[in-house]
């Protein structure tokens, strides 16, 4: 049990006190002329031994409680089906708009969407147009996370600069909270190259096992300058990730696959989505782009990923430090209650 630890180990010296019941009984003694006259009684001996043990255990439990016994944080190795997923979420201000490119209206402002997926889903049928892209992403990602029990999921966001939200972790509550945190109003622009770099950095110092997925959720793209492009190429190669791009297309905006009508528009500034798609395709890594024009399409894309990424995965589950002193005190209280009962059973001698 190397996991046992103590807050104040010197208090363990008090364990010596547990030997006290061996030569002090705490009972009122009556003088007796000759003990040899009393017949041997195994039951009495057993009861006395029990009382002694209970007293020793009570003292030991008290001392262990005083010394702050606890179980150290531990990690348990588990095997499951899943992946290491880093979600890279777009936090540019356009994400707060609906798929129609308008500000979301009505009560469904996205604030409740992340926390209560069921209700939000119910409202999806009636008010598709009202839901913001961020809210839809939040809701669907929450559902996605709920399905994936064994995944390690990390979250990064980007806007003008990348935001480190949550490293790869198996802690569902933390992931949910991180996703829900995107309910805060979005920020300014789109700086996708730095966001990608940060998302890829999440895989540093992680064993390569299962599949590594980078899930990019964005509603637009930006041009990547050549320096960043070269750096990203190397990073993508190093980290061996699969890339899924969930593109939330606003109505009337150019999609990923749209070819320019005018050759003059065929540049990264005019059609950043197309160029980003071309860049990703040229990386020679498994890459899949989904273009979603409404929450339903987005749900289909996520279900797709959910189905595809089910490789066996070793992962370690962290068990937090457990304070055992309360248990010790409880045990000591029970034992002392027993002793008190024994004390009350003491016969009154004349």
């Amino acid at each position: 049990m190397s996991a046992l630890a103590f807050e104040t180990p010197w208090a363990l010296a008090g364990l010596l006190l547990a030997l006290l019941p061996l030569w002090r009984s705490g009972m009122q003694t009556a003088a007796y002329p000759w003990l040899a006259m009393l017949p041997p009684d195994p039951l009495s001996q057993a009861v006395m031994l029990l009382i002694r043990l209970v007293a020793m255990a009570a003292i030991a439990a008290l001392v262990l409680g005083l010394s702050g016994m606890h179980l150290r944080e531990q990690s348990v190795e588990r095997i499951g089906h899943g992946a290491h997923i880093v979600m890279l979420l777009d936090r540019s201000s356009s994400m707060d708009n609906s798929f129609a490119g308008k500000a979301p209206s009505g009560s469904d402002d996205g604030r409740d969407a992340g926390g209560i997926p069921k209700r939000a889903q119910g409202s999806t049928q009636g008010a598709v147009a009202e839901e913001s892209k961020a809210a839809a992403a939040r809701r669907l990602l929450t559902e996605f996370v709920d399905h994936r029990d064994h995944d390690l999921i990390g979250i990064a966001e980007y806007s003008t600069s990348p935001l480190f939200v949550m490293p790869l972790t198996g802690n569902r509550a933390a992931i949910h909270a991180a996703i829900a945190a995107t309910a805060t109003p979005a920020l300014a622009y789109t700086n996708i190259s730095k966001g990608l770099a940060m998302a890829l950095s999440f895989f540093d110092r992680q064993a390569v096992q299962g599949s590594r997925i980078l899930l990019l959720v964005s509603d637009g793209a930006a041009a990547i300058d050549p320096d960043s492009e070269a750096a990203l190429r190397i990073l993508f190669k190093q980290q061996q990730v699969r890339l899924y791009w969930l593109f939330l297309r606003t109505d009337n905006s150019p999609g990923i696959f749209a070819q320019p009508d005018d050759p003059r528009d065929d540049n990264a500034q005019a059609m950043p989505e197309l160029y980003l798609h071309r860049f990703f395709s040229s990386l020679r890594i498994p890459y899949q782009a989904y273009e979603a024009e409404n929450p339903g399409a987005m749900q289909k894309a996520i279900a797709d990923i959910d189905r595809l990424e089910q490789l066996p995965l070793h992962y370690r589950e962290a068990i937090p430090k457990q304070d055992l002193s309360g248990l010790c005190y409880g045990l000591a209280a029970v034992l002392m209650a027993l002793l008190l009962g024994a004390k009350l059973c003491e016969a009154r001698m004349a």
């Binding site: 003990l35 009684d41 009495s44 009382i51």
Partner: protein, 279 residues
């Protein structure tokens, strides 16, 4: 001290040979009422007791003198166990010592006391005498004496007794093993011994029926806890009854009849004892 102590009467069937006149039938020839035999005048030159009829009938024509058996004095000793186990019984012992001394002095016998603690202590030794005051002082000291240790010196008590047959009251609770009891009794056989076993009812009948009870041996300090219940108490009482029978057998093997005491001292019990048993 004003408390009146009842005395008791004791008698000995076979008193020893003692020169001093007293109240008990002796073997000494002297001034007494009981005719013993005829002797020649030369052997016992007392012309007042010439028996004319016997002299006439004497074929050798000698003067025959009647001699009488003289009642002789007796030494009464109390040998007391002053071990720690006797602590609760010392008031009884003090009462008994006073009563025995008074009874002895009433019929002109001398009284002595030998108290045996871990060693023979001068404080608890009283040579046979005919004064009551030292015995009174001794009884007062005895009543509030805090005894401790074992009564190892009991084995040496016999050496302090006179060689002549005396009446010895051996007061003890006999809470020691039978071997040392036998070793103690063997040198006492020349005397008329009355073993008095003092037990306290609280030691067995007075124990509680239920509950945890912790006992500490008065002599070796060992401790024991018992979970008292009616069955166990019955076994303890039975153990004491068995012990009583065992002790009686040991004493009888030495020609002594034990007298069991508990509670307060009663002189009537002594009277009854001496009426029943001739020593």
């Amino acid at each position: 001290m004003s408390k009146a102590v009842p005395s008791f009467h004791y008698r000995l069937a076979h008193p020893g040979y003692r020169v001093f006149p007293g109240a008990h039938p002796g073997q000494t020839v002297g001034g007494g009422q009981l005719f013993k035999r005829h002797e020649p005048l030369l052997a016992s030159p007392d012309p007042r007791r010439i028996d004319l009829r016997a002299s006439v009938l004497d074929p050798f024509r000698h003067y025959r003198v009647r001699v009488f058996q003289q009642h002789s004095k007796l030494a009464v000793y109390v040998i007391a166990d002053l071990s720690a186990s006797m602590r609760g019984k010392l008031p009884l012992l003090a009462d008994f010592v006073l009563s025995a001394a008074q009874s002895a002095l009433e019929c002109g016998d001398s009284f002595g006391f030998i108290g045996c603690g871990p060693s023979l202590d001068r404080r608890w030794l009283l040579p046979a005498s005919q004064t009551l005051q030292p015995v009174r002082e001794l009884a007062i000291r005895l009543a509030d004496f805090q005894a401790h240790g074992k009564a190892d010196s009991l084995q040496r008590a016999a050496t302090l007794l006179p060689a002549r047959r005396s009446l010895v009251f051996l007061v003890s609770d006999c809470h020691f093993d039978p071997a040392s009891l036998r070793k103690l009794l063997r040198p006492l056989t020349p005397h008329a011994v009355v073993p008095m076993v003092a037990w306290d009812e609280a030691e067995y009948r007075g124990l509680p029926e239920w509950g945890l009870a912790r006992f500490k041996d008065a002599e070796n300090g060992r401790e024991r806890t018992l979970l008292m219940r009616p069955d166990l108490k019955r076994r303890i009482v039975q153990a004491f009854e068995d012990r009583r029978e065992h002790l009686r057998r040991i004493f009888r093997a030495f020609g002594m009849e034990p007298l069991f005491f508990s509670g307060a001292y009663r002189a009537e019990a002594m009277e009854r004892y001496f009426l029943r048993h001739a020593l």
